[in-house]
Structure formats: structure tokens, C-alpha cells
Symmetry: C2
Subunit: 359 residues, 2 copies
């Protein structure tokens, strides 16, 4: 089994802590290790043959530094995409590399920037998924919804033919309106699409050739199977392919079209940590609901339900609630927690105003 | 005419910018100069014979540094109280020093930490007050109230005998309840007690001897009149007096009891800058009501009516309003503007928790 970690995201929603060169997955929001490091540690007990991290060139250096300490436990490779082309080309590339070394290898595709509370549960689900993937399924890990979230994609399972997972997938639904989302969470057929997939490299390459041949074709001649995992040799050829390949998500390119897709619903304490407002779900709070990250201390005078990141400082909160406060050496953010997604507008504004050094 | 500036306050309500060693009057909240410096600059056009600054020992060094540049324009002396004893002993000391050099000298007593928008108006009022002080009045400068403030003292004038100021004072009222304060601002007889006083040194010493003899007596032997203004020689004797003198305000010790008290109402754009919430009154705001102090810039996404102090940083405010945000190298404050006075509780909490280095 091989693990492919998709780690090239830019994470503007965690500005000012996340920056272009240190996006969310490389940040240490939660404890000392980054989300990428936690993703690696989460799969090491599964004893993967190799971990392949797909990132971009701006982040490749920091990524290399962060994975160094795991190299004694598991072989880890980093490959940098020359430009971002969404998940389908990244997965095609990874599948091509894996199959050229191991034609029947199963690959587990994981985003680098998700939080999972129940790590044992996660590993059980992945082990089960690997079993079905070996039988030719394109397995998606579906997350049992906990709220009528309208920002996620949903997977509808066909539970008519089987009483136990994996269930064949009936359809994918992108970001539903609230009424639909409320219906979905009443039903036991709908899961959130977590972006975690398990399949043989050969299965996904076949599916890509069938459903998105223009994406599959340029990767077909890429043979990394010389027995040596030196991916830096590949990079000029990858650059040539990426120059013209279509940008597309694997969901749209393959998953919504293929027949052999199944879903394993998983209730594993998952969060995509999509913005600052997700942190109260996953980090411990004091009895007033204040989550302090890296502060020397918090003095609360009638304050509640807020997130404060202020490394080395005492943060004093007086009478405020439902705030996000993030302090960095060159930028300070104070936002209403229910408007955390608007933080990306701050990033846009700074791009326009020529304050690119803050991004 | 002599100016006495009372500058020993500790200013915890401007934490974390104000600290024990750099309280409000020594801070540069408004532009580059401190409030003490602005107080000095405000009186220099009145050509005082000498300015005497009464401070405490912790602040004496910084005070000396801040006044250095004015020494070419006017003689300035600094005397440090060994302990704080409220305003009556400080005024007794200053009056004693002045009268021993100039027995008929008029002294203008000014707090070091007030803001006055109309400086010309201020100087007119002071000049008028000096005239009446020379005739033996204890003159108070009353501020025309602009709101039913319950945190201030009020002065009631007796307007029956005269149509023009100064008016004899009928009574002093400390911090009235709201209903009373609302009555007062309807009447033209009430002013706020600004803590600005003008009198001969000899007049206030006589009044102290009469109404608070225990405060006046220990200062009586203090003779600084050797022709040389070297106040450092005085300090051991001052220390001996302060060791046992009663702590009392000049209002309670004298003003509320004396007969020869008058008030000159003044509408001069005064603010005591009592807490962070006073800043929107005296500093320019953008069209969303955001006052930025020392920031590199502010990015507002739907934010309004807030004060931000973040030296050298970009401050991003998302969806928030009515906040005070103050960033310093070791402490960060986020407070609701209508709870700005609660900031002193933060200081108390830090004292208790052993974080004295932040005070």
C-alpha cells in the first residue's frame, strides 16, 4: 500500500498565519507538528511501502524539511508540481509513478490539511478500503455529516443491495442548498466527500483513460519504474506535461462518471479545518469557550467563545465574544468567528494594495 | 506666573500601552509627542516664569528625558514624590517651593494627561483665571459638560450675583447618579471639575493651613528660597514629610470647604482621555469610524467604530465593531469599547498572577 498526500494548497483562509510559503498544511496550528506531519504520523502505523507527497515548488523546500524526521520510519518522496492543476493531474501523476514501480499497488489519497480525531477509526476504515480497492473498486471515504453544511460535496450511497459497506455510489452532489443539506443529514445514505480515496493505481489510471482521456494521455509515457525512486529526475518531464494539461478535480473527471465507485461511511471525528472558525471544534477550550493557541496566557474579563493566537504574548479579552484574534509579527487579524471565511477577502485586498509581502 | 504639572499618575486604564514606567502622560498615543509634552507646549505661549513637574520616582527619569527639549524655551524643574499622596500634598509642596522663591507668585495647576482641542481658548481662560487669582481667588476651570457623565465631579456655580465669570462656587458634587447628571447638563450652572486650578501659592497655602492644617504644617518649614532652583537638594526633606503626611485630594482638603472659590466655565474641547474609549473623540477616524494608531494600514471588511493600535503592522478587521485592539510586543488587548474601563481589572489580574513584568 502506498500513500499519496496532496499538499499543494494555498490556504488563504488562515491568513495571517498561513502565507504562500507556509500554507495551512505546513502550519503548526494544533500543537507542535504541522497538519502535513500529523497526516504522515496518522498513516505510519498502516506501514505503507512508501509515502508520496505532491506539493508545489514554492512549498517543496519547507515540505522536505518537515518530512525529514519520518524518513527513518518510512520512505517518503516529494514531487513538486510546476503549476497547480487541481487534483486529477496530481493523482494521475502519482498513480503513474506508483504503477510503474508496482503495477498492482494500492494507493491511498489523502489531503494534507485535514484533522481526524479518531485516528484508530481512520486506520480501520483505510485498511478496509484497501481490501476493496484490491478488488478493483474506486473507494471513497465518506464522512458521516454532523450538520447541514452547504460548503461541502455529498456522496449518496445505494444501500439497497448491501447492508454493510462499502456501498455502491448512486451520485455525487456538489454544495447543496440548505434545504437539501437538511434532508441529507436526516437520511443515512449521504456522506460528506472528504477527498480521501483508495484504489489501485491501475484502476484509477484506467478510469482516467476512459472518462478523462485528455488528462490521462500525457502521463501515459511517464515511466518512473527504473527501480530507483528519484523523482527529481522526473521533474522536467512533469513540467512539460503540466504546461498543457487541463485543470480538473478527480471528482469531476472520474468519480461522478465511473461505475465502479463505492463509499465507506466513516464517523472518525473529521474536520477539514476550512477556516479559523473550525478550530473550536478540534482544539481544547477553557470553560468560557476560549481557545488559546501559543499564548503566554489569556486574561478574560467577561469574554467567551473566541479563538486567540498570540505567540508568547498575554492576550487580554474584555467583554468580547465570538471573535478570532490572530497576531503575527507583521499582521494582526480580528474577525467575527461567523465571518471567518471573509478572511480571504483580506488577502485579496492586500494583493490589490501591493502588500504582497504579507501574503 | 508659574505652571505646576501633576504628572505622577499610573494610568492602568491604558494598559497594555501604558505601563508603570511609561504611564499615559508619557505615552505617545496622539501623534509623536506625549501628553506631558503637549501639556508643556500648550502653556509655553503664556510665558510662565517656570514650569514645575511633580512626578514619582519611577517616572522621573523618563520625564527628564521628555522635557529636555523645552529647557531652551522655559525653565522646567522636575520633583519626584517618594510616594503618591494624592493631589493635596503635591500642591502644598509645589506652592511652598514657588512662594519661597516668589511670595506673590500665581500658580496654574494642570494635570499632565488631559487633551484640549482648543488651545487658544484654553490659554485665554488661564490668562483670565490668573487675573482673578492675583486678587486672592481660588479659581477652578470648569468644563462645559457635553454628556451626563457619571464618572466626573461637578462644580455648581452661583450665577445670581454676577452675569460674567468667574462665578462663586456654590458646591462640589462627586460622581452623581445618572438622573442627577442629566439634570446638571440641562442647567447652565454646572461644570465638570477638570482638576485645573489657578491661585497664588500663598492663597492655597493659607487655605490648606485653615482647612487641612495637618497637611499644610509639615511643608511649612520647607524653604526652597535660596535663589537656586535645585530641587534635588530638597528631596531628602520631602521624603521625610511624605513618610507621614495624609493622602488627600485638594478638592476634599480645600476646595469643598473654602469660601473664596470661583469657577470659570470653559468650552475648550477638553477630554481627560480617561480610557481607550475616549480616543474616538479626539483622534481622526476613517469614514467607517475606525481610528488607527501607528499601524502600517488597516484592512476593514465590514468593520466599523473601532480603535486599533498596532505599530508597524497591517490590522485586518472583519465584521467587528465597537472594539479596542491594542498590540504591544508582550501583550495584546481586545476589548469592547463600552467596557474600556474594565481594562484596569486586567491589570489587577496580572498583578495577582505574578505577571508583574507586563505592568
Amino acid at each position: 500500500m502506498y500513500v499519496v498526500i496532496l499538499a499543494g494548497g494555498s490556504g488563504t483562509r488562515f491568513w495571517p498565519l498561513s502565507r504562500k510559503k507556509s500554507p495551512k498544511q505546513l502550519m503548526s496550528i494544533i500543537g507542535g507538528r504541522s497538519m502535513l506531519q500529523r497526516t504522515i504520523e496518522r498513516v505510519i502505523p498502516l506501514a505503507p511501502r512508501r509515502i508520496l507527497i505532491v506539493t508545489n515548488q514554492a512549498q517543496a523546500g519547507v515540505t522536505e524539511e518537515q518530512i525529514r524526521l519520518y524518513r527513518s520510519a518510512v520512505p517518503v518522496e516529494v514531487i513538486a508540481e510546476p503549476v497547480g492543476r487541481n487534483t486529477a493531474p496530481a493523482i494521475a501523476l502519482a498513480a503513474r509513478i506508483i504503477t510503474s514501480h508496482d503495477p498492482t499497488g494500492v494507493m491511498v489519497v489523502l489531503p494534507a490539511d485535514h484533522f481526524i480525531r479518531n485516528e484508530e477509526g481512520f486506520r480501520s476504515v483505510i485498511a478496509e478500503a484497501c481490501h476493496h480497492a484490491a478488488n478493483g473498486w474506486l473507494v471513497t471515504i465518506g464522512i458521516t455529516p454532523t450538520r447541514p453544511e452547504t460548503g461541502y460535496g455529498y456522496i449518496e450511497a445505494d444501500r439497497s443491495s448491501r447492508s454493510l459497506p462499502p456501498f455502491p455510489v448512486r451520485r455525487f452532489v456538489e454544495k447543496p442548498p440548505l434545504e437539501k443539506a437538511m434532508e441529507y443529514i436526516q437520511s443515512d445514505s449521504f456522506s460528506w466527500n472528504s477527498g480521501m480515496f483508495v484504489w489501485r493505481g491501475s484502476t484509477i489510471l484506467d478510469a482516467l483513460e476512459r472518462h478523462a482521456p485528455d488528462i490521462a494521455a500525457p502521463f501515459a509515457p511517464l515511466d518512473a519504474g527504473d527501480g530507483v525512486w528519484d523523482l527529481s529526475d522526473l521533474e522536467p518531464r512533469v513540467a512539460a506535461i503540466y504546461g498543457s494539461v487541463r485543470s480538473e478535480s478527480i471528482d469531476y473527471a472520474v468519480m461522478e462518471k465511473a461505475e465502479n465507485v463505492c463509499v465507506i461511511p466513516a464517523d472518525i471525528g473529521w474536520s477539514d479545518v476550512g477556516s479559523w472558525s473550525a478550530l473550536p471544534e478540534i482544539l481544547p477550550a477553557d470553560h468560557q469557550g476560549i481557545v488559546a493557541i501559543g499564548t503566554r496566557g489569556v486574561v478574560s474579563i467577561g469574554a467567551a467563545d473566541s479563538v486567540v493566537h498570540a505567540p508568547g504574548k498575554v492576550a487580554a479579552l474584555v467583554g468580547v465574544r465570538d471573535l478570532i484574534v490572530v497576531d503575527t509579527p507583521d499582521a494582526l487579524l480580528v474577525a467575527r468567528i461567523d465571518q471567518a471565511q471573509e478572511v480571504r477577502k483580506v488577502v485579496e485586498r492586500l494583493e490589490q494594495s501591493g502588500d504582497g509581502d504579507l501574503l
